[in-house]
């Protein structure tokens, strides 16, 4: 037990100033840390925009990679990223939402379900480079997809799957029970209730979470490096079995060259990448605000 210290009111009043001063100092420190965090973001953005903006041009978006910095562009990378996302979005959305529906609406509360749930949260903590090793072994080698759009897309889909599952589960759980009961009361079957009542109600939440997950897949680099996606690509893919390059790969390649000109190109590429991500996030925020009031 701590010894109780007895003080008279005069002493107590005397201490108040010190205690309040301490509170003020600490508050100032905490505020400084908060301001510092925002300043980091501002410095990062200003730095990249000032370095890359002069290199942004119509030619930069239209040209293929080149050994000469003044002719280099990101056409193949942008188109490649779009192709990859065309694989990632449907596969991750279908399997992610399907899993969430199973866990929220069908699964019994037993050990198997708990195990699946635990497995999903652990999967979310696996480093992306390890997903790259999985993609390399299973999709590139075992299934023989090579370093194609399909191999990269499936690897990325598995990487974002846990995020989508958790977001969709939360959205489905937030559907009020009365609405479901009303649907059952009208004689609807379980699947009719899920597909025509639960899913439409949960859709904004599912979309918001999924778009954020997909924007992670757009910027993720490590798995692409591990499965051997090339960086010097001077052609456009014509199908999902073709080889390709993606935006973050192109940025990585330019960053790892010693010449400053290529660093400037990397900054320009980062601006393009960030614009794509900001657009995706704005859509997510818009959906969230649009339907939140309901």
């Amino acid at each position: 037990m701590e010894k109780v210290e007895r003080i008279n009111s005069e002493e107590m009043v005397g201490r108040i100033d010190g205690r309040l001063a301490k509170n003020k100092v600490v508050k100032g420190l905490f505020f400084a840390a908060t301001a510092f965090t925002s300043i980091i973001l501002i410095v990062l953005l200003v730095r990249i925009i000032s370095q890359g903006a002069p290199y942004l041009s119509w030619d930069f978006l239209q040209n293929f990679a080149s050994r000469r910095p003044e002719q280099a562009g990101i056409k193949a990378a942008v188109i490649g990223t779009i192709w990859m996302m065309a694989v990632v979005i449907p596969s991750a959305a279908i399997f992610g939402v399907g899993t969430a529906i199973y866990l929220e609406e069908y699964a019994k509360k037993n050990a198997v379900t708990r195990w699946i749930q635990m497995n999903i949260s652990n999967l979310a903590g696996v480093p992306s480079v390890v997903f790259g090793l999985l993609g390399l072994t299973i999709f590139v080698r075992l299934f023989g997809f090579g370093n194609s759009i399909l191999a990269a897309g499936f690897t990325m889909a598995l990487l974002v799957l846990p995020v989508i599952i958790v977001a969709a589960q939360e959205a489905i759980r937030a559907v009020p029970g009365e609405i479901k009961e009303a649907s059952y009361g009208l004689g609807a079957t379980k699947w009719q209730t899920i597909s025509r009542v639960v899913l439409p109600y949960a859709l904004p939440g599912i979309l918001t979470g999924s778009i954020l997950a997909f924007s992670r897949a757009v910027g993720e680099t490590a798995p692409l490096v591990v499965i051997g996606i090339p960086t010097f690509v001077a052609f456009l893919p014509s199908g999902i079995f073709d080889s390709f390059t993606a935006l973050p790969m192109q940025i990585y390649n330019w960053t790892s060259r010693p010449q400053i000109e290529f660093h400037n190109l990397a900054a320009a590429g980062i601006i393009v990448l960030l614009v794509v991500l900001i657009l995706m996030n704005s859509v997510a925020v818009w959906i969230r605000n649009r339907f939140q009031s309901r």
Partner: protein, 314 residues
């Protein structure tokens, strides 16, 4: 036929339809199975990761003894005559980066979380939330670029002994990357301490700082610790920042100012190079990946354990 059906009430017709094994009935039975198979994919992914790592690591240990892997303190895989595979330099590299990142991110992250949860006006909170979300959404390749082209030159201006590739710059930037993780999870934990508890402390005359440090912080401790462990786990697995800014020299020295290699950046170095399929070097990335996986998995399990075991219930 028509006549008999007319005699049934609508409800009976519905029941008839339901039990006659029509399309509706069949799809009601098939759909849960299909959904279960979809849920199985994420389980299969885990099994796939574990089996892949185990099998390929096993092949690696056919070429290199596990004793050498665990006890030698040199990592020279690219030597043609005398390749040595001792994992320690790569583990040490990862630990250096993680240590610097935590020293940078934990104090700042907790300060921001305490400020947002206990001091900030709702307006400040409204401004900071999106800023932290953007910081969390910046791809690691962008952070890597920032480390190499901004933080490293800045460090070299301040301390000329720092080399082009070092542990400090990527360490700090990995720290920046994990700040949002620490802030959002520990702020959640602090805000979920019930308002009456907070008001009780303030009502008996405690200052905000006394309330925060003696009431809120202990009550939210499990969430705060879990957020730190998760942040550390992300720092261990971070790949692009260290590949770009930390160099590629496996080093067993404790020095922080010179080039090093982490487990993740070794995997990147091998897969961007042209080590052929089936060589010992090729299989070594799985052994390194397996070691990395064990590190991050134990951190994640630890975080779950902390938040379950030490949770204060109200």
């Amino acid at each position: 036929m028509k006549n008999t059906q007319k005699e049934l009430s609508p409800v009976q017709q519905l029941l008839e339809k339901k039990y006659n094994g029509g399309f509706l009935n069949r799809s009601e039975k098939v759909i849960p199975v299909v959904l279960f198979l979809m849920a199985a994919v994420s389980v299969l992914t885990t099994i796939g990761i574990v089996l892949t790592l185990i099998f390929e690591t096993f092949i690696f240990f056919g070429d290199v003894s596990i004793v050498e892997f665990l006890t030698k303190t040199e990592w020279y895989p690219f030597s043609e005559t005398e390749a040595v595979y001792g994992i320690w330099p790569l583990v040490l590299g990862t630990l250096k980066i993680t240590l610097i990142a935590s020293l940078f991110a934990v104090p700042i992250g907790l300060a921001v979380a305490l400020y947002l949860s206990e001091y900030a006006s709702s307006r400040t909170r409204k401004i900071m939330k999106p800023i932290l979300e953007v910081l969390a959404g910046v791809p690691t390749i962008v952070y890597g670029f920032f480390a190499l082209t901004f933080v490293t030159p800045l460090l070299r201006d301040l301390f000329p002994t720092v080399e082009m590739f070092n542990a400090i710059s990527p360490g700090i930037v990995v720290g920046i990357m994990i700040i949002p993780t620490i802030v959002s999870l520990s702020e959640d934990a602090m805000s979920s301490v019930p308002e009456p508890v907070r008001n009780g402390a303030l009502a008996i005359g405690a200052t905000k700082w006394e309330t925060a440090s003696k009431v809120i912080f202990p009550a939210a401790l499990s969430g705060i610790l879990a957020s730190i462990v998760l942040g550390v786990s992300r720092a261990i697995g971070e790949t692009m920042i260290v590949s770009i800014a930390a160099g590629s020299t496996p080093s067993a020295a404790l020095d922080l100012t010179s080039s090093l290699q982490t487990m993740t950046s070794y995997i990147v170095q091998v897969t961007t190079g042209d080590a052929g399929f089936g060589t010992t070097i090729y299989y070594s990335i799985y052994a390194v990946g397996f070691t990395l996986f064990i590190f991050t998995l134990s951190m994640n399990v630890l975080a779950q354990f902390i938040s379950k075991r030490f949770r204060e219930e109200y």
